[in-house]
């Protein structure tokens, strides 16, 4: 797979903060990429540089193998910011048309696309409604449509599911998969780790302006696994203890064990088998992204402190 976005040594310093301090990563075409980090980690600043709203102080952004140009690449990017909104007094259809044309689409082209998406999301009847009459979920859908209707190569979604009910959440989630299938790359920024785990192929975790984690969800889970297994046996062995593991939790015939250094998971199984216990189930417990997130981010103060930057 080819790389669509490559970020090298990106830096953005504000007068009181190093918002983004030397971050590099690359994103493959057609993947769903999770950009994670606690509040104030520098995610929004990073995204604003990728969308051309901010200029980086240092470093480079390559889109599709070429140097990113905020003016010409507007058509290639669809951005749904966390702080999002629409012109309240405008009609839904006009609003969608307006935003599409600002992306550089011609009028007929925009009209066809808007119609297509409105049909897909069953929004045709909204065309002449005013935006202020829409519910939060409805305007969220409209927002999503306006983000993707110019068929950008790179879609950036900042907390796309906030305020959506499960049905509409799924609708948009399906559409995200759809887009990815068609080769659109999606950057997905959120705090909701269970969504990341479900959706993302690849994640990057930033904290305090630095990248602290980069890899596929699988790799990362492997990297952070603590060798904990659950075992269910038909009867507990008479000699439960063994130096290959230590018991973390015991509930009836269910055991959660941590394998000690120098042993393998099969050593535990061998012990049970030798003890004539029938194995009903045995599998590894991988840490959730949530746990990894908390473990990595813990210890940093919840509110980022302002630091003096020597000029």
């Amino acid at each position: 797979m080819s790389t669509i976005l490559e970020i090298k040594n990106l830096k953005k310093y504000f007068s009181s903060q190093k918002a983004v301090d030397d971050i590099s990563f690359s994103i493959e075409k057609g993947s769903i990429f999770g950009l994670l980090g606690p509040n104030g980690a520098g995610k929004t600043t990073l995204i604003r540089m990728i969308t051309g709203i901010f200029y980086p102080d240092a470093g480079s952004i390559q889109l599709n193998g070429k140097k990113f140009d905020p003016v010409t690449d507007v058509i290639n990017i669809g951005y749904m910011p966390e702080e999002r909104g629409l012109y309240k007094k405008m009609k839904v259809g006009e609003q969608a048309m307006y935003l599409a044309q600002l992306k550089g689409m011609r009028k007929q082209e925009a009209f066809a696309q808007v119609k297509l998406w409105f049909e897909k999301f069953e929004m045709q009847s909204w065309w002449n409604k005013k935006v202020e009459d829409l519910s939060k979920g409805m305007s969220q859908k409209l927002q999503f449509v306006t983000t993707v209707l110019h068929e950008p190569k790179l879609v950036i979604l900042d907390e796309p599911f906030s305020g959506l009910d499960p049905v509409n959440s799924n609708l948009i989630k399906d559409e995200i998969y759809n887009l990815a299938q068609k080769g659109t790359t999606i950057i997905f920024s959120t705090h909701r780790m269970e969504q990341v785990e479900e959706i993302c192929d690849h994640i990057v975790l930033v904290n305090k302006g630095h990248k602290i984690l980069d890899g596929t969800v699988r790799e990362i889970k492997q990297q952070f696994k603590q060798h904990i297994f659950t075992a269910e046996v038909d009867q507990l062995p008479s000699a439960l203890e063994h130096n290959s593991f230590s018991i973390v939790k015991k509930e009836g015939n269910n055991l959660t064990v941590k394998i000690n250094d120098g042993f393998k998971s099969n050593d535990v199984l061998m012990h049970f088998i030798n003890q004539q216990s029938g194995i009903v189930a045995y599998h590894e417990i991988l840490p959730s992204l949530n746990e990894i997130f908390i473990r990595l981010v813990e210890g940093t103060p919840t509110a980022r402190q302002f630091e003096a930057i020597p000029a």
């Binding site: 702080e83 307006y98 935003l99 044309q101 600002l102």
Partner: protein
Amino acid sequence: MNKIWIIIKREYVTRVRNKTFLLSTFLFPLLMFALIFGGAFIGANGTEQRKIAVNDQSGLYRNNFKDGSSVAFGYPDAVTRDNYKDKGFEGILIVYSADQQKADSVRLYTEKQLGLSTDEAIKNQIQKINENRLLMERGVTRNTLDSIKQLSESKDALNYRSYQVRGAEVKEDNKKLAIVIGYISGFIIYIVLFIYGAAVMRGVMEEKTNRIAEVMVSSVKPFQLMLGKIIGIAAVGLTQLFLWIILIFILSSLSSLFISPEVLEEAQKMNESMPSMASNNTMALSFLEGKTVLFNSVNWALVIPCFIFYFLFGYLFYASLFAAVGSVVNEDPQEAQSLMLPITLPIVLGIFIMINAVQNPGGSLAFWGSVIPFTSPIVMMSRIPFGVPWWQLGISMISLIIGFLFTTWLSAKIYRTGILLYGKKVTLKEMAKWAFRKA
């Protein structure tokens, strides 16, 4: 460029389609006319005539006072300060001196205060009566006196005109009309700066509070967004101005059908009593005289293009500043108020200089006020009807254009930062820092 055009179109269309636009477009000229002509009417019909009793101990003034529209005189017997009210008068004028050679001491007592000009008019009458008396004492007969008076007051006796000389050109001066035109155009520009400046600010605030700003700036540059809004609203303003001119033209032709010039002249005659009405009536009168005078004595070929220029560039000069303020304000309108102060102050100052400038269009205050871009749109417009040297007009226009480029450049930098900043209260100091930092 194309994107700015799309933004301009949206800003224009959404505003022109708005009901408030239609309402204000049609109500404003009506209101103005109601004010001008309504004032004239009240002046003509509504003044109370005050009855003054005269107790003349010298006997010189008895029956010599002329009744005006604001005062009438009566000469009841044995009237004193204690009983004039019982006799149906509202005031008493007592002439104390019995010695005809000495200066008379005259006292006027009223319960309700008379206007300054009424007071003056009574004083003038007394002087006039005295003057006549003294002339007759020197041997001038009543007949001679009357004929002299008649001659001097007739229009044939004096033909006075003032001219303005500019190089070889000698132009008839019409100061009254120039004042009226100067006032009106200065005021319109003043109002325009506020109405449309505030419209720009509200538009920017709306984008920010609706949280659409970030969506927008991911498609267009903040500068394009700001400029598109400013130009779009300028187009709305020009449309409105154009409609106003048409409406005012129609209304002024209509009003001359309903109000005869005599009524207004009558109204003007009695202005002594109500000086505040004077300007109104002059204006109303000028409108009606307009049919003949207005088009000849004013250099419309200069006034109209200049008006459009100062209307447009005055707006552009301030609009970007209003946009900058709008970009840093959060939901709190109070915040906007305090940040707007540095912008509104020079505009209000402009109006004060303008009021001075129409009285003294060649003075140095008028000159500086009309050259410095902060006040020039208002002040220069009030000077143009009087005639302004070309070089001053040139400097004023060039400095306004440069000023506009400067404020736009400055505001764009504040705007760019401010529009993406949420929840933080921004001080003027911070705004200045954004404006002057590099990149």
